[in-house]
Symmetry: C2
Subunit: 351 residues, 2 copies
C-alpha cells in the first residue's frame, strides 16, 4: 500500500510541475531598478535634470514590467530594462558611459538566472551596443560565464548582436567630465580647476552611475542584471564589480536577486551580492535585513560607498544605499515609484 | 570608576596589539597548496611524471614554508609558492600554461589578504612572467582589485615587474595538446584522432591545472593566491574563476583562506570560495565541513568538477575534490606531505 501511495505521489510530480508552469501567478511580479548611487542630492541637480532622470527611470520600469505582465521571464524583463538604461545617455552604461583615462568607453555587464544559477558577463567591451544582451548571449549561447575584450566582441558579433563604432557611446557631457578630472589631476599653472559646469559633480567626484535591475516573474523565477561604464578616468583595464558574479550581480531562486552600484573595489572584496544571498540562506535573514546588513554595516565599516537593489521570491525587496542618493525605483501591482535622494526616500521605499 | 576601568582597558589595546605582533606563534604556521584537479590517476601517468610532479609540489611547499618560518607574512608565502609553481612547466600557470584557440598563453591570477580583505587580480595577460606578483602589485600599489589585458601589463611594467616575450610561456607539450584538441574538434578525413601521446590526457580532457596556495603565518593572518592559464583551446577572451575574488580565491581572517581549481564556470556561478567562508561565518561550520559541503555536495549537484584547498586561522585545513585526483600538499610543524590521486589520498589528508 505504502509503495502504491509513493508511486502515485511520484506520478503526480510532473503534473504538479506542469500545473505550476501553467498557472502563472501575476500577483507578485515585481521589478526593481537602480541607475547608480553617489552624491545625488537636490543641490547637485537642476529641476530639469531631475525630471529627465525620473522620466528615464519610469520608462525603464514600465518597459520591464510590460514584459512581466505579458508572461515574459524575469530574465527578459531585466534585460529589456537594462537595455533601455544603456541606451539612455543619462546613465553610466552603454551610450553615455564615462571615459577611460585614454578617452575610450569600456563597458562591463552581467546577468544571472535565479532558476538555473546560470550567468553571463562581458568586460572591457567597446563596440557592443548593449553589453547586457552580450552577457545574456554568453550565458545562453556559450559554455562560459565571462568573456572579455576583443574576444567578447568577436563572440557577440558571431551571435548577431548589434555592434557599433566606439564613437556611438561618446557623449559630450562625459567627455567634458573626463577633461575636468584630468585637469584636476594635472593642473596647469593659472588653471582655475574645479570651475565650470558642476551639473555632474555627483557622478564626477563619486563615480558611480551603474545601472541594474532585479525581477520576479509570474513563474516565481528571479533574475538580476547590471551594466556599467565603470569609473571615469579609469586606467589599466580596470574592471569593477558589475561583471563579477557574486559581487555586482547575483540571483538564486532560493534567496534573492541582487544588483549593486558603488565603489566596485569594495563590492568585490566583500562579495556583496553573494553575501546578501548567503545571509538569507544561512542566517535566515529577510531580504531587507540581509541587504541592509551588508550595505549599511559591512560596506560602511570598510569604507565602501554604494547601494544595492535586492528582491526575494515573494516580491519583498530592499534598496539600501550608504551614499547621499541613489537613482532607483520599483513597480509592483502596476504601481510604480521612482526616487533619487537620501534617507527620506530610503524610509519611504523600505518595506 | 567604571569610566576609569574602560579608559584603562582601551589604553591597553595598543600594547596588546603590540604584544601580539611581537610574539609570533610559529606553532600553527601552515601552508597548503594545489596544482590542479582533474582525471589525475596512476593509469594516466608514468612513474617519471609522477615523480616530477611530487618533486615540484614538495619544492613549492618548502619554499613557502621557509618564508613562514622566517617570520614572513602569509601573503609573502603564498606569493613565493605560486611563483614557483608558475615557473614550473608542469603546471597550467605561468610557463607551461595551456594555449588559447588562437595559440596564445593568456594568464589569470589573484591574491587576497585575510587581515585587510584587500585583494588583487589580473586576467588575460600574456607578457607578465609571474601573474601572481602582478595581482599582488594591483592589491598593494593600485586602488583597484582587477586589471585586465594590455592595461594590466602596462601597470605591471610601470611597477617594475618582470615582463617577458609571450613565447616564454610556450612549452612543446602544451602546444601539442592544443593541436590534438583542435584535431578532435575538426577531424580531417583519414585522421586517427585521439591517438598519439596520452600522457597529458588528465589535463586535456579535464582542463584544470590551476595552481594555488593558502597560508597561515605566525601572526595569525591568512592569505590565498591562485594562478592559471585557464582552459586549453579557450576562445573569446574567456576568463574562469581564478582571477575572480569570491569564486577562485578568498581570504578572511574571520573564516578561512581558499584557493580553487576546476571547471571555472561552475565555481563562478556558485561563488565557491566565498560560499565556504560564508558557511563558516553564518552556520559556524568547521573549515572541513564547509569546504566539503560546497565541493562534494553543491558542486557535484550542479555538475561542477574540481576541488579546493581551505585553511582556517587555527591551522585546520581541508583539500576536498570531486575529481579522480588533485595535485596537492601541505606542510605544518615542518612535516610535509604531497599527494595527487583519489579518495585514499583524500581520507589520508582530511583532518
Amino acid at each position: 500500500m505504502k509503495t502504491i501511495v509513493i508511486a502515485f505521489l511520484i506520478g503526480c510530480l510532473p503534473a504538479l510541475a506542469f500545473a505550476q508552469q501553467a498557472q502563472p501567478d501575476f500577483s507578485k511580479i515585481t521589478l526593481v531598478i537602480h541607475g547608480g548611487a553617489g552624491a545625488i542630492t537636490k543641490a547637485n541637480m537642476t529641476p530639469e535634470t531631475e525630471k529627465a532622470y525620473a522620466a528615464a527611470l519610469e520608462q525603464a520600469l514600465q518597459t520591464g514590467f510590460a514584459v512581466l505582465k505579458n508572461g515574459g521571464s524575469s530574465l527578459d524583463a531585466v534585460e529589456a530594462t537594462v537595455r533601455l538604461l544603456e541606451d539612455s545617455p543619462l546613465f553610466n552604461a552603454g551610450r553615455g558611459a564615462v571615459f577611460t583615462n585614454e578617452g575610450k568607453n569600456e563597458l562591463d555587464a552581467s546577468i544571472m538566472d535565479g532558476k538555473s544559477l546560470k550567468a553571463g558577463a562581458v568586460a572591457s567591451v567597446t563596440t557592443i551596443r548593449n553589453p547586457v544582451s552580450a552577457a545574456r548571449a554568453v550565458m545562453e549561447q556559450s559554455e562560459h560565464v565571462m568573456l572579455i575584450g576583443n574576444g567578447a566582441e568577436k563572440f557577440a558579433g558571431e551571435k548577431g548582436l548589434q555592434l557599433v563604432e566606439p564613437s556611438y557611446f561618446r557623449t559630450e557631457r562625459r567627455l567634458q567630465q573626463l577633461q575636468r578630472l584630468q585637469e584636476k589631476e594635472n593642473p596647469q599653472p593659472g588653471d582655475s580647476t574645479g570651475t565650470g559646469s558642476t551639473e555632474n559633480i555627483f557622478t564626477e567626484d563619486k563615480k558611480f552611475g551603474t545601472v541594474g535591475a532585479v525581477a520576479l516573474d509570474a513563474y516565481g523565477n528571479l533574475a538580476a542584471a547590471t551594466s556599467t561604464g565603470g569609473m571615469s578616468n579609469k586606467r589599466y583595464g580596470r574592471v569593477g564589480d558589475s561583471p563579477i558574479i557574486g559581487a555586482g550581480t547575483y540571483a538564486d531562486n532560493n534567496t534573492c536577486a541582487v544588483s549593486a552600484t558603488g565603489h566596485g573595489e569594495f563590492f568585490i572584496r566583500l562579495v556583496v551580492a553573494h553575501d546578501i544571498a548567503a545571509l538569507m540562506a544561512y542566517k535566515k535573514y529577510s531580504v531587507k535585513k540581509a541587504a541592509e546588513a551588508v550595505v549599511l554595516k559591512k560596506l560602511v565599516a570598510n569604507g565602501g560607498d554604494g547601494g544595492v537593489i535586492a528582491l526575494d521570491r515573494k516580491g519583498n525587496f530592499a534598496m539600501p544605499f550608504n551614499t547621499p542618493g541613489m537613482f532607483r525605483g520599483y513597480i509592483k501591482n502596476g504601481e510604480s515609484k521612482v526616487a533619487m535622494f537620501g534617507s527620506l526616500g530610503v524610509r519611504k521605499f523600505r518595506r
